[in-house]
Each structure stands twice: as C-alpha cells, then as structure tokens.
C-alpha cells in the first residue's frame, strides 16, 4: 500500500491531516517560545516600546484563552445559553481595557448558568472552576492594562506591529500560497544566521480563532521543508529593530541551539479515542482474545532496545506502561 493512495478516500487515510483549531489551542497557547517582556521591562525600567508589546500580548492572550474555555464548554454542554454574550463581554473588556465591571458581570453570569436547582451538579462545578480562574486572571491583567492603555492612548501609539510566528535558519524561501494574519504577506527579519518569520498586523484589532489557526498554518508550511522553532501565539513587536533587539540579539545563542538540536525533525500528534461504551462492549463480546492479539504484536516485533525518549516517564524507561501519563512541562 502506498501512502498517497488513500489520502482522499475516508477517515482511514494514511497521511496526517492539518491541525484543527483544537490542536492549535492545545499546542500554541501552551507551548512554543515566549519572550518574557515583563521581566525585561522590570529589569531595564519603564521603557515604552517594550510596554507596548507586552500589552498586546496580554490582551490577545486573555481574550483567546477565555474565548477558548467558553467554546470548549459549549462543545461539552449541549444546553448552554448565554455563551455568546460572555464572549462579547470579555473580548470587549479585554481588548479595549475599558472596564473590569464587565468581568464581574461575566462571573455572575457563569455562576448563574451552572448554579442549578438540583444537588447533582458536581460535574458542572468541576467544569466551572477553570472558567472562574480565567476570569480572575483576566481581572488581574486588566487592572494593569487599563492604566497602561490610557497612557498609550495619550501618546497615540499601538497601531501597526509585527506578529511573530517563529524562527528558522536565514536564507529560507517563503512558502508559496501562505499569508499571515489578516491576509498580510509574510516576511523574514534576518541576521547572518537566523530569520524571524513575521507579518504586519493592526495591533488594535483583537485576535480571533482564525488568527490562531493562521499562525499554526504558517508554521506548518515552514515545517514542511525546514526546521522551525515556533513562537507562542500573540507575541508582537513594533518593528524590525525590536525584532533584532528583543529576539535575535539576546536569544540568538539559544535559538541556534534549538534549531541545531531539532534539525530535520518534525512533530506529529497521535490521539486515540474509544468509541462510545456501548459500541465498545459489543466489540469486546465479539473479540474475547484481545490479550492474545497483544501478545502476537509483541512476538512480531521484538526489535532492538527502545531508543525512544519517553518524556513523561524518563525515570523508568522500561516501566512506562505502568506509569500514568503526565504532561511534560
């Protein structure tokens, strides 16, 4: 069987499929390179250009995390009402930095949605907790933002900025047919060895799920043909000069190290889901010899000792089967 043959037939295709929004949210919001602008600001004192960038990062991040959490609930809750208003409240408040009263309102609404009459509401409470935590985080961020946004508005800044996607070796061609956020063309800010993938964005525009997906698509296009170190979504710098000063110069050594270490490597995601319990039970009835099947597999491929790094269970490489899977942090 060749790999390409089945590509368009059905869900049992051979090749991997591109990331969906859920994959992107799991990876880009939590992983990837960040520049810790806040630390830098506090080290060098109040330096306005850097603060600009941090505000954009904070507001985009807050907005997306909250919208995402709400969306996820929407997927699991079939009867949820009022969610769109929640998103509007939070995105309005988060992006403009106008009021934190909206957040208070959201908190009440969220509580109201799930504080049902029956006592049997434990699952809802469990789902609710992360949301409230996000609201609280958003509140804290907002207090800081509000002040700084007002300062910036006076100075009339915060318009066009560069969205950072990732870092690759200099001299790469831009992949054809891929555009940046909002359809802007991609560009490279390079020094002798490294190139930062960027595109211009209107920093006043709040980012949405489409932008997040676009960020992933740009990186995947680069990953098709070369090694790329991805940035977390939402890192914006004002211009080329800042990219040099904030990224290429201070981070150059570690970026080169990462690119060399991961040279020629790509990541793929493999997720497996059981069918619903009822269907599963039927399968089990039909196939009492599951264990025998497993033993067959082992016998077929004894192979050399494992060379694979099991990141979640490094302490006992031969005992990973017994260990609960944990997230690598």
């Amino acid at each position: 069987m060749t790999v390409m043959q089945n590509r368009s037939s059905n869900r049992y295709v051979s090749g991997p499929s591109p990331s969906g929004l859920a994959d992107v949210i799991d990876t880009i919001l939590d992983k990837g390179l960040v520049i810790d602008l806040y630390v830098r600001v506090s080290l060098v004192g109040i330096e306005l250009l850097t603060i600009d960038a941090r505000i954009v990062v904070a507001s985009v991040d807050t907005y997306l995390r909250f919208a995402n959490a709400v969306n996820r609930m929407d997927l699991t809750e079939t009867q949820t009402s009022g969610i769109p208003e929640l998103i509007e409240d939070i995105s309005g408040a988060g992006s403009k930095g106008k009021t934190s009263g909206a957040l208070e309102g959201v908190k009440e609404k969220v509580s109201g949605l799930f504080g049902g009459d029956d006592d049997d509401d434990r699952p809802e409470v469990v789902r609710l907790l992360p949301i409230l935590r996000l609201v609280e985080q958003a509140e804290q961020q907002l207090e800081v933002q509000q002040l700084e946004v007002e300062q910036l508005q006076v100075r009339g800044r915060l318009t066009v900025a560069l969205h950072l996607y990732g870092v690759t070796w200099a001299g790469k061609e831009l992949p054809a047919g891929v555009t940046g956020r909002g359809g802007a063309s991609l560009g490279l800010v390079s020094d002798e060895q490294l190139a930062v993938i960027v595109s211009e964005v209107d920093a006043d525009q709040p980012a949405g799920p489409d932008d997040l997906l676009n960020h992933a698509r740009v990186l995947e296009a680069f990953a098709e043909s070369g090694t790329v170190v991805p940035m977390q979504f939402g890192v914006l710098l004002l211009d080329d000069v800042q990219v040099h000063e904030q990224m290429l110069q201070p981070e150059g050594d570690s970026l080169r190290y990462l690119l060399r270490a991961l040279d020629g490597m790509i990541q793929l995601t493999v997720q497996a889901f059981h069918e619903e319990a009822a269907a599963l039970a039927q399968v089990l009835d039909r196939e009492p010899g599951l264990r025998a099947m497993r033993d067959d597999i082992r016998a077929e491929a004894p192979g050399p000792p494992r060379a694979t790094r099991w990141l979640s269970v490094r302490r006992s490489p031969t005992g990973w089967r017994d260990s609960p899977a944990t997230t690598v942090t």
Partner: protein, 89 residues
C-alpha cells in the same frame, strides 16, 4: 474499560515506537481518549510513521478513532531540548 484503554494505548505505542525519536505523552482530554501523544520524528522517516499509524487503524479501527495530525513544528519538544532533558549523541 481501563485495562482495555491501557492495552490499546500500548498497542499503538508499540507500532509507533520504532520510528520516532521521542514521545511526549499528555493527559487525555476525556474518558474515551486513551492516547494523547506528540511524537518527534525525522522528516525523511515520516512515511514509516504514516504506515505505522495506518496499521494501528487497521487493527483497532473497529473500536477506536485515531487522529493523526501534522506535520507541526516541534512545539512539545522545545522545552525538553532547552533544559537538556532531551538530547542526542
């Protein structure tokens, strides 16, 4: 159910293991999810990984749905490489 989940997870990992350089396991997002893995693989070995996933689907397709997504930049391996937890040679 739990035993079956473990069994099926092992089965998939056994198929994938010989091809990849590193695996990063994350907590499954739901009770029906038995595997949530990011794998690091050399670009020129991807067809082998495609084939391994295909074999998993052939064997487990009657009771499992397998999502196979990529290629992505190495999101899940940046931090392990940076800290030295993951290194080569």
């Amino acid at each position: 159910m739990e035993r079956l989940a473990g069994h099926d997870r092992d089965l998939i990992l056994d198929h994938i293991d010989p091809v990849v350089d590193a695996v990063s396991l994350s907590d499954p997002g739901s009770t029906l999810q038995v595997l949530n893995a990011a794998v690091l693989v050399a670009r020129d070995r991807r067809p082998e990984l495609d084939a391994a996933v295909e074999r998993c689907r052939a064997e487990l397709g009657d009771r499992m749905r397998i999502r196979y997504v990529g290629p992505q930049p190495p999101y899940s391996f940046l931090e392990p490489v940076r800290t030295g937890e993951l290194s080569w040679g």
